[in-house]
């Protein structure tokens, strides 16, 4: 069996004496999309930030490519990992082209190569480079901004992609569009991806496996079929919340008022 791309080994994260996460043991396999699903405060974002060392674990260790993140130079580690957040964090004073080219530029790639890479990444997320390269983030729609965010995260050709509620701020239609597009992209680039969400539907759509977190503890890891079959009460509650979305309260299945 392959060495996992990311491994949590007895990881605990504490802030002001309170345990926010852990102890957590979890492997992320190469090329899979692992979704961390949980409600606010479940520790899923904390777990994500431990991977690129935006936070540092209090106990245990997080291994990236078999090496504890503490032993990595933090800057090198982060440039090796793509990072997408909900509000995209695009630099408002940079054009789209400069935003996407940021990591290759930090890595010291030659200008011509950066330009080529920027165009390729924009095409990958379905944005015409001619049209969008020179625009500024405030001249884009929310969905376009998020696409640029994904293009930027992939521009440095990282092995690992971390996404924190990447589609959370979008309207429902753009959200579905981007989720589908992400699946397409993922089919092509096959990055090891860890995605944080509280949306069960999103988890079911995008995940290779779902890691369910509750109150800083890992409740279980489920493939899609396992998630549907599990008799665990928490999983059942998530399933109910998800399918409950498809019905209106006070209406039976046939649309009549009961």
């Amino acid at each position: 069996m392959d060495e996992p791309a990311i491994a949590f080994r007895g990881v605990t994260y504490r802030a002001q004496g309170r345990v926010l996460l852990g102890p957590l043991d979890l492997d992320v396999r190469r090329g899979e999309t692992l979704v961390l699903l949980g409600r606010s405060g479940s520790g899923k974002t904390t777990a994500l930030k431990l991977i690129n060392r935006l936070l540092e674990e209090s106990e245990g260790s997080v291994l990236v490519d078999g090496r504890p993140t503490r032993e990595w130079d933090a800057i090198t580690l982060r440039r090796h990992i793509g990072y997408v957040i909900q509000e995209t964090g695009l630099f408002p004073h940079y054009t789209v082209g400069k935003n996407v080219g940021l990591v290759p530029r930090l890595l010291g790639k030659p200008e011509a190569q950066i330009r080529e890479r920027v165009d390729a990444m924009l095409r990958l997320v379905d944005l015409d480079p001619q049209e969008f390269r020179q625009r500024y983030p405030h001249q884009l729609s929310g969905g376009q901004r998020q696409r640029v965010g994904v293009a930027r995260a992939l521009a440095g050709d990282p092995e690992i992609l971390l996404m924190d509620e990447p589609f959370g701020a979008l309207d429902p239609l753009s959200r579905v569009e981007l989720q589908r597009q992400f699946l397409e992209i993922q089919k092509r680039v096959r990055k090891t991806t860890v995605l944080v969400t509280h949306d069960v539907g999103e988890a079911l759509l995008l995940a290779t496996r779902i890691a369910l977190l509750e109150g800083g503890k890992l409740m279980g890891i489920y493939s899609r079929p396992e998630f549907f079959e599990s008799t665990d009460a928490t999983v059942a509650a998530y399933r109910a919340a998800w399918s409950g979305n498809l019905q209106f309260p006070g209406e039976d299945r046939h649309g009549g008022i009961s």
């Binding site: 690129n52 440039r79 990072y83 995209t88 964090g89």
Partner: protein
Amino acid sequence: MVEFLRIHRVEITTLTLEHVWLVAASMGIAVLIGVPAGVLLTRKPRLREPVMGGANIIETIPSLALFGFLLPAPWLGARADRIAITALALYALLPIIRNTYVGITGVDPGVREAARGMGLTSRQMLWQVELPLSMSVILAGVRTATVLCIGIATIAAAIGAGGLGEFIFRGLAMVNDSLILAGAIPAAILALAADLGLGWLEARLRPPRA
């Protein structure tokens, strides 16, 4: 009045230039000290209270008294313009330090987090993200400080540092309104011009909101 302007043309020009020199030199020094100090406060929050407190206290010292305090200082006290520039720079520090601090801490946390997550070093963060995004706020501080100093610089004439205050003090002594106005009007025009010019620059440097 026109006659007065014609006679004093040369003197008005000289004193205005002196005035501009006093303010420009002190603002240069204040920016060179104030901006790095403001940046330092964002890195070492524990220094915030004492540094801001100190700058606040300086601000409360009446300007005439501050000029007086600096008179016996070695080297500085040897020339009136040195004293004036030092005092003006001290007054200019507070708005510049404060706005640098406020500007940098006000950078969108999402942008900051993304920048860190992508592996910007703390120096790259400062030059590529924090300073460009807070430039308009910092400049607003420089603008406040400049307008303030153009006013205070008129008092520098009391210790013989020159500038448009010369006319004002002379006019006061001779009870001559024309002389007072010959100092006050150019000073007011300078302040307005600085305010408009820096305001324009500030608006240009304001980052677009995403």
